[in-house]
């Protein structure tokens, strides 16, 4: 595209910097020299995708290879989409501005169910046939991974291949296989032959190699492998030792202000606190820590090679890292004078401390966020969030004393066994926190942000059998909180329960929902997670038109032995462990965490041949 036309295109849309591709640390290889071309597709806009650590890791992992290149592609915003359709510009990868349909692979990361229509839209904009069965020898392989890959069934007809679990090793096995098939065999046997061979790689799932049969009442009757190469169950891949990985120390520095705009050093993977609603806590086990020396070394290198002034020590629960105090202190010591600050996302109330608070606030204070999730001890015990009110108040007091006056607290509405009393508990907790502030006799006013989202039952968790709370219930409870939290010092945010309802349909959905995704997309559904784009009525009309009952997916109580649409996909957990946890939940019985010494029997270590890997003694409770 000539420079003048490029300017015309970019000046006709908002935030043209989303579409450029020449950021610092972006990798530009010669397409003529490289046989394996991978378009890494994040199905949301640039600002969201450029905050995603997994994408940075895989971009680096693929580009490390001399025989492969990885380039990025994001979902064009609606204004750019309109221009592209008008001028017949096919979706292009940022680094080379080449159409992604010319690549060998287009790989999507499935982070959130409500981005599925963006995935379809991107394929359409790229000129790639939506259905796997309709793709020909010149079309790329459309593959997917990420957390929702543990139940990708609503996308099954659109995906050629799915990767379960961590990608750093399996990607090389897949690309080695592809390179040899392409270069040495001239793609002999066609697409199906490649997929047959790929099915033999651990962690790889080929949806077209399975047929799903249903009972008359709609439940799954069987998931049947159709070819000998397709295993009955596919187990996720897991990296045993994170220290051996070549972690990216030259992440791309975005042109725009993105959601998370800082060095991200991954402290550990997995979380075994055992919160029963949490999908991530279940599918990323076991916990494997990076050594503190490695964390520091990676951080230093990344700061030097990016010029960022902030570091995020990242994980599912960073204050649980066994060396968090020492590492935070060391980073602060070395870099505070250079104006580099630390941020810690995802803090647990019961492992936060004043000492940690001080390290984090040395250069500039980021906000503090905690997630008690439930307002009463009883409900916290149900969900196994082992945090007591005393913990919460003590932590909040420590934070206030250390100088914070703005706190954000996350809760969920609609958890199993929830009553109005539990919702009232949220308001009571908020008031108790304000009393803590008052006792400190500060002159200023605190700012307490209470944010509630609606619980969505997820696959592979102890709550995968449970119905979601009804829309009426969710709306009613949010309404109550709105009244109870009326206070100048409190800001109450709530998430749209209608969006959560649709999410609940797809999170435990099966293949029969694929036409609904397609139809909703045809009718204009995209960027559903953006409140000004989401159209609830459209979804309901689509379900009605296709004679699908969303309540079947979102509101049904499953039986103990029901076959789930994701039963052939294995996160390594024992199903009886999940059921047992569900039973304990209903009795409000907490389960202590395995890092404290006692195995809870989730079976992941034995099933996958990996171990819990700590670099110190776990200090949690």
């Amino acid at each position: 595209m000539d420079v003048i036309s490029k300017r015309q295109l970019l000046m006709s849309v908002a935030k043209p910097a989303r579409y450029l591709g020449t950021e610092w640390n972006s990798i530009h290889k010669d397409h003529e020299q490289i046989p394996v071309k991978f378009a890494w597709a994040f199905p949301d806009v640039y600002e969201v995708g450029m905050s995603h650590l997994g994408s940075k890791i895989m971009y680096h992992e693929i580009n490390r290879r001399e025989d492969a290149l990885a380039e990025r592609v994001f979902a064009p915003w609606v204004d750019m989409e309109a221009r592209m359709r008008e001028k017949k510009i096919a979706l292009w990868a940022l680094e080379s501005w080449r159409p992604i349909r010319e690549f060998d692979f287009v790989g999507f990361t499935l982070q959130y169910e409500m981005t599925y229509t963006n995935l379809l839209n991107m394929l359409d904009l790229a000129g790639i046939p939506l259905e796997s069965a309709a793709r020909g020898p010149d079309d790329p392989f459309v593959i997917a991974g990420g957390p929702c890959a543990f139940n990708p069934e609503p996308l099954a007809p659109f995906l050629d291949l799915v990767v379960l679990g961590e990608g750093e090793e399996v990607i090389h096995e897949l690309l080695d296989l592809y390179r040899d098939w392409k270069l040495k065999e001239g793609k002999r046997g066609g697409r199906r032959e490649f997929l047959r061979r790929a099915a033999g790689i651990g962690g790889i799932y080929i949806p077209s190699f399975y047929a799903v049969h249903y009972e008359e009442d709609g439940r799954v009757a069987a998931i049947e492998p159709l070819v000998p190469e397709a295993p009955r169950r596919i187990s996720k891949r897991v990296i045993a030792d994170l220290d051996v990985l070549d972690y990216p120390t030259r992440p791309i520095v975005p042109f725009l202000d993105v959601v998370h705009d800082r060095v991200m050093t991954e402290l550990f993977r997995g979380c075994t606190r055992g919160c029963r609603f949490c999908s991530a806590g279940m599918i990323y086990r076991p916990v494997r820590e990076r050594s503190p020396e490695k964390v520091l070394d990676l951080t230093r290198q990344a700061l030097r090679q990016t010029g960022y002034h902030e570091v995020s020590l990242t994980s599912l629960s960073s204050s649980d890292y066994t060396h968090i105090g020492a590492v935070a202190h060391q980073v602060a010591e070395e870099f505070a004078a250079a104006g580099v600050g630390i941020s810690l996302p995802s803090l647990r109330v019961d492992s936060f401390s004043v000492g940690l608070a001080r390290e984090v606030q040395r250069v500039r204070k980021a906000g503090l966020t905690f997630a008690p999730e439930a307002g009463t001890q009883r409900l916290r015990d149900v969900i196994n969030k082992g945090v007591t009110e005393a913990d919460i108040l003590e932590t909040v007091r420590a934070a206030f004393l250390a100088g914070w006056k703005e706190l954000k607290l996350y809760f969920m509405i609609g958890l199993p066994t929830e009553t109005e009393e539990d919702v009232a508990g949220i308001a009571e907790l908020a008031r108790a926190i304000l009393r803590v502030w008052d006792e400190l006799r500060r002159r200023e006013r605190p700012h307490l942000v209470i944010s509630t989202s609606s619980f969505v039952p997820k696959a592979h968790t102890p709550f995968q059998w449970e119905p979601q709370a009804s829309l009426e219930e969710l709306r009613q409870r949010q309404g109550l909180l709105k009244r109870w939290l009326k206070d100048r010092r409190i800001e109450y945010n709530w998430h749209d329960p209608e969006l959560s309802f649709i999410e609940a349909v797809f999170s435990r959905g099966d293949r029969r929902l694929a036409p609904a995704l397609r139809r909703a997309w045809e009718l204009g559904a995209r960027f559903d997670s953006w409140s000004d784009q989401f159209d609830f009525g459209r979804w309901l009309r689509v379900f009605a038109e296709l004679r699908l009952d969303p309540a079947f997916y979102a509101y049904r109580q499953r039986e103990k032995d029901e076959i789930f649409p994701w039963d052939h996909l294995d996160a390594g957990l024992s199903r009886s462990f999940l059921w047992l946890e569900r039973e304990r939940a209903l009795r409000a019985q907490p389960t202590p965490e395995c890092r404290l010494g006692r195995c809870t029997g989730c079976a992941v270590c034995g099933n996958l041949g990996v171990d819990l890997r700590l670099t110190g003694t776990f200090g949690g409770k």
Partner: protein
């Protein structure tokens, strides 16, 4: 974020020169470097804030001893002469950098250029006394070369300029922008060819009065806190006046001007 006259704290160290803890500089020893830089290629599409962020990170990568502002959100201290709108290319952007340790201007330029990308490059750098007036307040005018989608006649431009009042709607109010227009000429500068060739240097304007009709226009417009007009707005007003639908295809800012005793002067003085 980028305009801040708070004096830094003395113990800020050069980034990533690890272990250099014993260095401490007296509060008065700040060093100021003024640079003229290029904003071309993809950098054209970065907003002013994006550009400031880009510079801050490049400075950190280059290990240059930039001073930091104090306060709630300390950031590297740099000051720009004038914000550039998204979509405008420029070979005359100016910024002042404040360092807490002396660095030769030439070295500053080469170290920074090594780590700048996407069309941002330092073209010239000089040490400037701390006592020199703040860069932000200095800018008075800017020169542009604009490429249009169709021809415009010199006579039409002249007629447009003859008006005492040229009204443009801004934030709901009609403002007279005529005093903000210092010059507007049709020129023959080879801008179209230069842009097509990726040549940011090309596009010299021909002498005034030479060209009767053409797609390239030279503009000298008021710029800065005392009055600011962008080329896009100039042509919006012109289109209104002449009943035309000229589209701006390219804008190249060629120079920024200060003012001394009623005359335009270089920002270097």
């Amino acid at each position: 974020m980028v305009e801040n006259s708070v004096l830094l704290k003395a113990d800020r160290q050069a980034p990533f020169e690890s272990g250099n803890k014993e260095a401490s500089y007296p509060a008065a020893s700040l060093y100021r470097i003024r640079a003229r830089f290029l904003k071309t290629d993809d950098a054209i599409y970065l907003s002013h804030l994006d550009l400031a962020r880009l510079m801050q990170r490049a400075l950190a990568r280059a290990g240059l001893p930039v001073a930091f502002t104090q306060g709630f959100n300390p950031h590297p201290r740099l000051v720009f002469a004038a914000a550039l709108a998204v979509g405008t290319e420029s070979r005359a952007e100016y910024a002042d950098f404040f360092l807490h340790h002396p660095v030769e201007a030439v070295e500053f330029q080469s170290r920074l250029n090594e780590t700048l990308t996407a069309g941002v490059q330092i073209l010239e750098a000089r040490s400037v006394p701390l006592s020199a007036p703040a860069l932000t307040g200095l800018t008075r005018a800017a020169d542009y070369l604009v490429l249009l989608s169709a021809e415009v006649r010199a006579a039409e431009l002249a007629a447009f300029l003859e008006q005492e009042e040229v009204l443009l709607a801004r934030e709901g109010k009609a403002t007279n922008i005529r005093p903000l227009i210092l010059a507007a000429e049709v020129v023959r500068g080879g801008l179209a060819a230069a842009v097509a060739a990726g040549d940011w240097k090309g596009g010299e304007a021909s002498p005034p009065g030479d060209v009767e009709e053409g797609r390239e226009v030279f503009l000298r417009l008021r710029t800065g806190s005392q009055g600011n007009l962008r080329p896009e707005d100039f042509f919006a007003a012109f289109n209104s006046f002449a009943g035309k639908h000229l589209e701006v295809l390219w804008i190249r800012r060629r120079e920024l001007w200060a003012e001394k005793k009623g005359q335009l002067a270089s920002l270097w003085d």
